[in-house]
């Protein structure tokens, strides 16, 4: 869930009950005020009627257009011993309208000069009040809802606006790839927190890149520095083999040393090549026909493996890819070598190019660990394998943004390169 959604949602959850409570309190306060007003006007009316009765003035006719009704009736003596006043909500029948309406009714007792008690009942219909309250209620609800929506909208807008630097930073992170550097990193210098965050991110990335750079340099330098001692060792062993009289045992030992050294040389050379690919030291490109390279390699490996491995191809006339020639050869060679090397006895190797995709397949028994297959020094335990071949393929493909995939289908290891 996005932060902005979460904040808005939480705000809504908190605001809704508060708004409801506010609204309710306000509504009931309004109801009370309106009732008080009604009661006041009833009291005024009642007072006017009593005054008129006491001074013997004519009372207004019952239906005087105000919808107010009243009645005065004398009470037995025993009942009237003081002025009482009470309000009541009830439904009354209004003659003019000929229907029953809710009304507010005031009942009062009063004494005249001769101490005769009377009861005065005054009522006023409350449908206006009901209408008013209904209108207030509707408007209250609408207004409070609008208020809440406005608050949420404004909050979301301001929040989004304020968080712009963060989103810019996050977008930058999405696009970031190791080695890109921090040059285009968005920076906000106005907000303290974002400034700190940007600084921390920049710092972390710069440190990571410098570690990576140093590691790359270390591998490159180490391989370089090893070249001369390896040359010395090799040359000296060779000199002993060529120029001194050795017993058969000594010769065998030296030969084995030389073979190990040869392997070490190859490993070192491959590491150098890897570090050079990673440092983009193969900038020149040309239009390379992969079909030509493939056919050439198949020729070599068919010669080496003879009839024990059957190789079939489905290749177009030409397949031109723009890349460095020696890297193209290295990539194709390693894939084909890998296929021949790991095809079992009496096995098959199938090579095809279709829809811009090179597929090299060899038969096998079980799927390999696809997550580690392209790692350096991951080997299947086959003798003579450096464990760098597929790492090299991956590294070359990455440098040209080609996709290399491994899958295992129908007892076949499939290596796909999408150009």
């Amino acid at each position: 869930m996005k932060l902005i959604t979460r904040v808005t949602l939480r705000l809504a959850i908190v605001l809704l009950p508060i708004m409801i409570i506010w609204g309710t309190v306000f509504f009931f306060y309004m109801v009370k005020e309106i009732n008080d007003e009604t009661d006041d006007s009833l009291e005024d009316y009642a007072e006017m009627l009593i005054r008129r009765t006491l001074v013997g003035k004519e009372l207004p006719p019952p239906g005087n257009g105000s919808n107010n009704t009243y009645s005065i009736e004398p009470l037995p003596d025993s009942a009237g011993n003081g002025a009482t006043i009470s309000f009541k909500d009830r439904r009354i029948y209004i003659h003019e309208k000929k229907e029953t309406e809710p009304a507010r009714e005031l009942t009062m007792t009063f004494l005249d000069r001769r101490n005769n008690a009377y009861r005065l009942v005054v009522s006023t219909p409350t449908f206006e009040r009901e209408d008013l309250l209904r209108a207030i209620f509707t408007h209250l609800v609408i207004l409070y809802m609008l208020l809440m929506l406005t608050i949420l909208f404004v909050t979301a807008f301001i929040f989004h606006y304020s968080m712009k630097p963060l989103y810019a930073l996050l977008r930058w992170f999405d696009k970031y790839q190791p080695g890109n550097g921090t040059d285009n990193m968005p920076a906000d210098h106005q907000t303290q927190e974002f400034r700190k965050l940007t600084e921390a991110a920049r710092h972390t990335i710069e440190r990571a890149e410098s570690y990576m750079e140093r590691q790359k340099q270390f591998i490159g330098n180490a391989s370089h520095e090893l070249q001369t001692p390896l040359a010395i060792l090799g040359t000296r062993i060779e000199w002993m083999i060529d120029n001194t009289t050795l017993t058969e045992e000594q010769f065998a030992e030296l030969s084995k040393m030389r073979q190990s050294l040869h392997r070490m040389n190859r490993l070192n050379r491959t590491l150098l090549l890897l570090s050079k690919i990673e440092n983009n030291q193969f900038p020149d490109r040309a239009d390379i026909d992969l079909v030509e390279i493939i056919n050439n390699e198949i020729g070599i490996y068919s010669e080496i493996y003879g009839d024990s491995i059957k190789c079939s191809t489905k290749l177009p006339e030409k397949f031109i890819v723009s890349m460095n020639e020696s890297l193209a050869t290295t990539m194709i060679t390693n894939l084909i070598k890998n296929a021949f090397l790991h095809a079992s006895e009496e096995g098959t190797v199938d090579i095809s190019i279709r829809k811009g995709e090179l597929v090299i397949a060899n038969n096998g028994n079980e799927a390999l660990d696809a997550t580690r297959l392209f790692d350096r020094f991951y080997t299947s335990g086959k003798k003579g394998s450096t464990g760098l071949g597929l790492a090299l393929v991956k590294s070359i493909a990455d440098s040209y943004s080609f996709k290399v995939e491994y899958s295992f289908k129908e007892s076949k290891h499939l290596f796909k390169v999408r150009f």
């Binding site: 370089h224 070249q227 001369t228 040359t235 010769f251 050379r269 070599i300 493996y305 450096t386």
Partner: protein, 261 residues
């Protein structure tokens, strides 16, 4: 003592220079070994073993360990071939190469570099180097490169290669043994050429496979294809009565030497 003797012989050779045509000169040089080499390499151990190995092969070998020492020697003497390490402590070897060429010298130059970098290679070859050999290398390989570079210097014989009664024509890829032409398959020819460039060296089969089939042949567990080719080649050489042949050495490698050895 040895170097003095070589130097006087070299002078004799200098006298001949004018009289002999280039082919004879090359053959004399190749067979007697009075070629003068300069090794410019800052690593003492490597320099020493290179000198020892190349002296054993019959060359007169001088060495320099620094840029200035090398500059001195180049200015003062003529060399047939200079092996130049381009990473020197007191200067870039490529500068030295430029210097050699600016002096208008004909010295052949083979760059030896721990930086197996394409840029260096291209720059070096552009500056007039004759070959580029990345470290680590085998002496047999260096020796073959030196021979090949020296051969290129003598244009008249650049197309044929002779050892005793075996003669290879590199252009037409024809093989003549004791005056009679024999037919070799493509790989058989390549193998024979490889051995003839490295006579007397014991060649590991993995190195041979890489040299003939390409760098990426590194299947240590399968050399059946090498055995088969060599077996056929040896048979053809024996049948034709070649003086030299490929000899298996304890099963670890091969050596090109006299057939009777």
């Amino acid at each position: 003592m040895r170097s003095l003797k070589n130097r006087s012989l070299l002078n004799v050779n200098e006298d001949f220079k004018g009289k002999l045509n280039e082919e004879i000169r090359f053959l004399v040089i190749l067979n007697t070994g009075y070629m003068k080499l300069l090794i410019i390499e800052d690593d003492n151990s490597l320099r020493e073993i290179m000198q020892r190995a190349l002296t054993t092969e019959g060359y007169v070998v001088e060495t320099a360990s620094t840029f200035f020492e090398a500059e001195d020697k180049i200015a003062g003497y003529e060399y047939d071939c200079i092996m130049l390490d381009i990473m020197l402590p007191d200067g870039n070897g490529l500068k030295l190469l430029e210097h050699i060429k600016s002096l208008g010298k004909n010295d052949r130059v083979i760059i030896i570099s721990a930086r197996d970098s394409l840029d260096d290679k291209i720059e070096g070859l552009n500056l007039g180097a004759d070959d580029y050999l990345p470290k680590p290398f085998y002496m047999a390989e260096l020796s073959a490169r030196i021979k090949s570079v020296l051969r290129r210097g003598t244009t008249a014989v650049s197309n044929t290669m002779n050892i005793d009664n075996i003669s290879l024509d590199l252009n037409s890829r024809r093989v003549t043994i004791a005056g009679k032409e024999i037919t070799l398959l493509k790989k058989e020819f390549d193998i024979l050429l490889y051995f003839m460039q490295r006579p007397g060296h014991i060649i590991d089969k993995a190195v041979l496979a890489e040299g003939v089939w390409g760098d990426h042949i590194d299947m240590a567990d399968n050399f059946q294809f090498v055995y088969a080719q060599i077996k056929n080649l040896r048979k053809k050489l024996t049948e034709a009565g070649a003086d030299n042949n490929i000899k298996a050495v304890y099963g670890f490698g091969y050596k090109f030497c006299e057939a009777t050895e």
